[in-house]
């Protein structure tokens, strides 16, 4: 009888989740269409349609296929990656304030980007993959240091210990970055500062292709492991009694969170709040069960980043704002609301 009730609750939740995921997908589709039609160069919906069907002028094709579409797809991938990474980290650490920053992703990426800017000749920056590759390297190295320091023989990887070590390592790396920043000339400072704020400027199909395998490869894996996340989030001993190797599963999930966050940050820079807000909003919509929450978080993250980037590239006529700034401006009030509400 009790099992039947649980099944009923599960079914109701599944139906509700389905509806919400469909609704979020529709919202994402609407924002995608708005974004496709929005920019400093005016294209009417009819012109957009003409270009999409193979007509339109060379200039219109450049706007759509070279400037807007790849960047919008990058925004969706980065948003989904950061939000799901945040959800995984919050689940593993049982800390609702955890986000990819606790793995030192942003601080490690910033430090390596800084080192590249200081040491490499200016001509090398014409290679668009230099900074993303450096950022990826910095993220992974920092995360590896945090993993190694958090691991205790016999006790494994303790989440709260990892959180504290992550905060300490990130603070130390930020301090080194602050010292190195003093060596920068104004132009170099702009470059590093923009990366740290988060920006999708100049994103093209090469970036899409370099990010796509990470997101498409890791997202299904995380969703597949969502039942493990539920166990880790609630009661680890239950996981042990069910025959799971909790330590191993936690390590795999951490690696997955790192892969999502590091690849997203390498392309999008230090876009903040998405890893924090996406999971929170998803939890409010579909509840805490990860099999329901993760798809919703991915969609919400995608919506936040594509909306933020569309405003960032369109609101000023001659220049652009870093997308990370716009997302923080949109997200900070909501996050404050969450904090005040939970008091």
């Amino acid at each position: 009888m009790i099992e039947h009730t649980f099944a009923e609750i599960h079914n109701v939740r599944q139906k509700r989740t389905f509806k919400i995921v469909v609704m979020l997908s529709l919202i994402l589709a609407v924002i995608f269409l708005i974004s496709l039609n929005t920019g400093t160069m005016r294209l009417t919906p009819e012109q957009v349609w003409a270009v999409l069907t193979g007509e339109g002028s060379q200039k219109q094709q450049t706007v759509l296929f070279r400037l807007r579409l790849p960047r919008m797809i990058i925004a969706i991938l980065v948003g989904a990656g950061l939000a799901v990474s945040g959800a995984v980290l919050q689940g593993i650490s049982k800390n609702a304030l955890a986000d990819p920053g606790i793995l030192g992703i942003n601080s490690g990426a910033n430090l390596v980007v800084l080192l590249i800017v200081i040491t490499a000749p200016a001509s090398i920056f014409a290679n668009p993959f230099l900074l993303p590759a450096g950022a990826l390297l910095g993220s992974c190295c920092t995360a590896a240091i945090i993993f190694a320091m958090s691991y205790k023989k016999g006790r494994g990887l303790h989440p709260s210990r990892m959180l504290l070590i992550g905060i300490a390592v990130a603070a130390a790396l930020s301090a080194i970055s602050a010292i190195l920043t003093l060596k920068l000339n104004p132009m170099e400072y702009d470059m590093v500062y923009e990366f740290s704020l988060g920006s999708l400027y100049g994103g093209d199909w090469d970036f899409v292709l370099s990010l796509l395998p990470w997101i498409l490869g890791v997202l299904p894996f995380v969703i597949y492991k969502s039942h493990i996340l539920n166990i880790l989030h609630l009661n680890e001993s239950a996981g042990v009694s069910l025959g799971y190797s909790v330590e191993k599963e936690r390590f795999y999930l951490l690696l997955a969170a790192l892969a999502l966050a590091a690849s997203s940050s390498a392309i999008g820079g230090g876009i903040g709040f998405v890893g924090l807000m996406g999971p929170h909003m998803a939890r409010k919509l579909v509840g805490p069960k990860h099999q329901f929450m993760l798809p919703a978080a991915a969609l919400l993250g995608a919506i936040l980043v594509i909306a933020g980037d569309t405003v960032a590239r369109s609101i000023l006529k001659n220049t652009e704002l870093p997308a990370g700034v716009v997302i923080s401006m949109l997200g900070a009030p909501y996050f404050l609301y969450l904090l005040l509400k939970s008091r």
Partner: protein, 326 residues
């Protein structure tokens, strides 16, 4: 359910913000189009034959070769530091990145005031750039970070950056069909350099330290960055400071130069408080104890004087005269 409705409202608001942003851009684009039409009307009045002299031409630049069918008229500068040279060659750019950095500089005022140069910010909007139908984007080799993002949008050329002013002027002259004017500018510059060199006493041993005031600390410029003073005119840098670097006030005290040339950091300066980052040290006991301060040998200069700007070199020559004369 109420919570879900609220969240959906949040996203509806987000979509509304996007729509507003789209409407805003539509209006602005309309005005850009009318400006562009007016500009093309003006261009039609120019002497076509004069414009086409020497074109088409193929020009080798720092990142390859470009073939220009006609003299580029709509030029966008990716480095604000070349606006003065473009202006001296008679081709002020249609727009430039980094205009905010030079807007309040007295040194640059003759080259930007009344010129209607569009301020493209620090990251120019790619769609606006495409819409402008630019003839030529000009980068310097110091500022090629955006090359990959911009090179598909308009023809581009990269000219020499840093303190290599002569090469930069020649390259710009070649791109703009103004080789003679470029040579005249270089000749005038060389003459002025030679004049100051001739006035330079052979036994002048006083040391010079060039500083950028950042607020809490200073950046010493290297002899390469300030090549005219140290390498061409032969002024003595402080021993050990040839490569430049970060300095605290104690570091300056340890270096104890005979002369200090100091300018505010472009990034940190406040246009409402001219020289505020320098004046803040006036009451500092370590600053007051410096030989250069005691002897009145602190030379406060325009912030562009310590940047790789060609027109600043003439001010450096004046300053050099002042130092050897003082």
């Amino acid at each position: 359910m109420y919570k879900q409705i609220r969240t959906v409202h949040l996203f509806t608001a987000l979509a509304f913000v996007l729509l507003l942003s789209a409407c805003n851009i539509s209006n602005e684009t309309a005005s850009t189009e009318s400006v562009a039409k007016a500009e093309s009307g003006l261009q039609a009045n120019n002497e076509v034959t004069e414009q086409q002299a020497g074109y088409p031409r193929t020009v080798k630049h720092e990142d390859g070769v470009i073939t220009l069918d006609s003299r580029p008229e709509k030029i966008i500068s990716i480095d604000e530091d070349i606006i003065d040279i473009l202006s001296l060659l008679g081709h002020s750019p249609l727009g430039s990145e980094g205009l905010d950095e030079v807007a309040d500089s007295a040194l640059f005022a003759p080259y930007i005031e009344g010129k209607d140069i569009i301020n493209m910010g620090n990251r120019m909007n790619l769609e606006t750039l495409l819409d402008m139908d630019v003839d030529l984007l000009i980068f310097t080799s110091d500022k090629v970070r955006e090359l990959d993002s911009l090179k598909d949008i308009a023809p581009y050329a990269v000219v020499a950056g840093g303190a290599d002013y002569r090469t930069r002027i020649r390259q710009l002259g070649e791109l703009l069909g103004e080789e003679q004017q470029a040579e005249a500018i270089i000749e005038d510059y060389d003459q002025q350099v030679e004049t100051v060199k001739a006035e330079m006493p052979s036994d002048f041993e006083e040391t010079v330290l060039v500083l950028r005031a950042n607020g809490k600390d200073f950046t010493a410029l290297s002899t390469e960055e300030f090549g005219l003073l140290f390498n061409e005119l032969g002024f003595k840098p402080v021993k050990g400071m040839e490569a430049g670097g970060q300095l605290t006030i104690e570091g300056i005290s340890a270096a104890n130069p005979d002369h200090i040339i100091i300018a505010e950091s472009i990034r940190e300066s406040d246009p409402k408080k001219p020289n505020g980052l320098i004046n803040m040290w006036e009451e500092n006991p370590v600053w007051k104890s410096l030989s250069a301060v005691k002897n009145g040998n602190v030379h406060t200069v325009d912030k562009l004087l310590i940047e790789p700007v060609f027109s600043a070199q003439f001010e450096i020559l004046k300053l050099a005269k002042e130092i050897i004369g003082g």
